[in-house]
């Protein structure tokens, strides 16, 4: 594995385009995007629906690959890696937080947090301890053996946050993390994210909610597949 360069930016996009082949012809969801996110930054991505922000998130999360351009994640070129290596990158360097939490209903809180540990190529003897510590950090230390259905929406999202952190990733990608929550609970989640940022994590939050974006240290707007401002 490439040694992580402390000085390398967390995310560096060079002339990234993502073009979809449609029946009506080619549609560019993203065109020639250049973006650098330094380590420890807390960045919000805003934009109307259909602007390409979800496409950007998929690319940043290594779930999708660019049609052209280069993507350096922590200094490593990940723009054209084979599927297995992308899986490993997702596992080790990226933490996902989804709008709808995406917990597995059969598994307990602790087991849900442990999922990313499952897919590590090497066994991590401290993994379980870290999962328990993270559950405590998000305030669910006493509910380790609860099922998702027994938790409130806010609590479920806290489990998802703990899960995103369990492999100590380089960046955290959050897609509308408060979209399914009421404003009070949403604020709580945002303060957890803020705390993560304070501890030095790199965060990219996608939202169309201005109040969410206000928490970030930097906001970019995407319109028609291009970055504005």
């Amino acid at each position: 594995m490439v040694a992580q360069n402390k000085k390398a930016p967390a995310i560096q996009l060079e002339e990234i385009s993502r073009i979809y082949q449609m029946a009506a012809g080619e549609v560019a969801a993203l065109s020639k995007i250049n973006l650098t996110v330094e380590q420890g930054e807390y960045m919000a991505v805003m934009g109307p629906s259909g602007s390409g922000k979800t496409t950007l998130l998929n690319l940043l999360g290594c779930l999708d690959q660019p049609s052209s351009g280069r993507y350096y994640l922590g200094g490593e070129d990940v723009s054209a890696l084979p599927d297995d290596q992308l899986s490993e990158i997702r596992n080790r360097k990226i933490g996902f937080i989804f709008q709808s939490y995406n917990l597995i209903p059969e598994l307990t809180v602790l087991e849900n947090i442990e999922i990313p540990l499952f897919y590590r190529s090497h066994n991590d003897p401290d993994g379980l301890q870290r999962a328990v510590r993270l559950a405590e950090m998000v305030g669910l230390g006493s509910r380790l053996d609860h099922r998702p259905a027994q938790l409130s929406g806010g609590q479920q999202q806290r489990v998802a946050i703990a899960r995103s952190l369990v492999n100590d990733p380089l960046i955290i990608l959050a897609d509308e993390p408060t979209g399914n929550l009421d404003s009070t609970t949403g604020q709580e989640i945002l303060s957890v994210l803020h705390e993560m940022h304070r501890q030095g994590k790199t965060l990219v939050v996608i939202t169309h909610d201005v109040s969410v974006a206000q928490h970030s240290s930097r906001t970019i707007h995407i319109v028609d597949g291009r970055i504005k401002g």
Binding site: L63, D83, S87, E88, F96, E106, I115, P116
Partner: protein
């Protein structure tokens, strides 16, 4: 180092989700259970039936060649002999001529008639067999007590008899019998030997052997002078008279490889002196081979039935696995996002399918061993569960899990994580 962990964890995931849907899993697995159970049970019943047939044939002696008198097909309306006596079958002269065939080691001539055997007030319809002392060796009859008659008894036409175990029980219900006297018609015989029980359990066999248990053996020399060569049969009110010198000639070949040549020699020799087809040649070895052939066909038929039920079981597994994949599209997307490789997803679903079919296979093996025992108990049929049949059936069931689980597992792994995550 990496592989066992990777396997063990995906197996764990598979087991967990099976447990979550345990009732449905169990129902799905029934197809495999019955498939495997029927493979084992049918093989056991087939094996048992053919074992019985082979035992019967072996009783006739695997090196023996048996020639029997048979009544030739009646020529419509006319009787070949005056006074309505049917004369047919093997002659003593046949026996002496056949003895000149060099590849034969031993031979015996037999007359068989149904006669009532008496002992005081007890009587039983037995089978009277007049023969040479060598017959006992030819068909390897063994003694329970006493002795067999020998060349001396034969030479001096002694009034001695050897009785089957069943007949002894009927005539001497209180036990004993050895040294006592039994009567057939007006002739009295001393019981010098009792044969050991040679009953074969169960029925429905393809080959009928002589019911040795109800036979009474008397030296041919003794019997010939007492009973003559006529046989009177009462058939439907009218008396039928037959003249048969010998009912059977049993010959033993020296080696198995001599049998075909010896049979054709015997056949040629008999054809010269017999115009009508009033005899048949039976070769137990050939019957044995036929029985084995029959068994093979039987096995193929049973095997295909079992294969069909296993196929149905496999389709059931494929069905539930596809349903399981459909239900968990989002979970698959999530696992992919969190770092699962395609092969992790394949292993997860494949191990689920294999666990499912292996559990079915294990239950099936237990049932399959249990059913033949029940069949034996209920019908008295012999069943044999061979060691390899449960192993084979279990291996097949596990293989079915792999084969029918592969397509669903592969389709799960090939899902695009982005679309899978967006699935509602």
């Amino acid at each position: 180092m990496m592989l066992p962990i990777f396997f063990q964890r995906n197996l764990e995931v598979g087991l967990k989700s099976l447990w979550h849907r345990r009732l449905r899993s169990l129902l799905t697995v029934l197809g495999i259970v019955f498939g495997v159970a029927s493979v084992i049970a049918m093989l056991a019943i087939g094996e048992g039936a053919s074992y019985e047939a082979q035992q019967r044939i072996k009783q006739m002696g695997s090196l023996n060649i048996i020639v029997r008198s048979v009544k030739p097909p009646a020529e419509a309306g006319k009787s070949s002999q005056p006074m309505g006596i049917d004369k047919y079958g093997l002659l003593k002269s046949d026996f002496y001529r056949l003895q000149t065939i060099p590849s034969l080691r031993q031979s015996a001539q037999l007359r068989r008639t149904r006669e009532t055997v008496w002992q005081g007030e007890w009587s039983f319809p037995g089978q009277l067999v007049l023969t040479n002392p060598s017959y006992f060796q030819l068909v390897s009859l063994s003694l329970a007590s006493g002795r067999l008659f020998n060349e001396n008894d034969y030479l001096y036409r002694s009034n001695v008899a050897v009785l089957g175990a069943g007949l002894i029980q009927k005539l001497f219900p209180l036990g004993g019998g050895l040294g006592e006297t039994v009567r057939v018609k007006r002739n009295y015989y001393r019981v010098i030997g009792i044969l050991s029980d040679r009953s074969i359990s169960g029925g429905g066999s393809t080959v009928s052997a002589e019911n040795v248990n109800y036979e009474i053996y008397i030296p041919l020399s003794t019997g010939m002078s007492q009973f003559g060569e006529f046989i009177f049969k009462n058939e439907g009110g009218s008396v039928q008279r037959e003249w048969v010198e010998l009912h059977e000639i049993v010959m033993k070949a020296g080696r198995e490889s001599d049998i075909p040549a010896t049979v054709s020699l015997i056949s040629a020799e008999l054809k010269r002196s017999h115009k009508a087809a009033d005899y048949e040649i039976m070769v137990p070895l050939e019957l044995l081979k036929q029985a084995e052939q029959t068994k093979r066909i039987f096995n193929i038929v049973l095997g295909s039935i079992a294969a069909i039920s296993l196929l149905v079981g496999g389709i059931g597994i494929m069905n539930i696995m596809l349903a399981s994949v459909m239900e968990r599209i989002r979970e698959i997307g999530l696992r992919r996002a969190l770092g699962a490789r395609k092969r992790d997803i394949v292993i997860q679903f494949l191990s689920e399918a294999v666990i499912l079919s292996a559990i079915g296979g294990a239950i099936g093996v237990i049932l399959g061993i249990f059913i033949p025992a029940l069949v034996t108990r209920a019908t008295g049929m012999k069943t044999i569960v061979t060691v390899w049949s449960p192993i084979l059936a279990f291996a097949i069931s596990a293989a079915i899990g792999v084969i029918f689980g592969f397509y669903p597992a592969r389709s799960a792994a090939e899902l695009d994580p982005i679309t899978a995550l967006r699935n509602e």
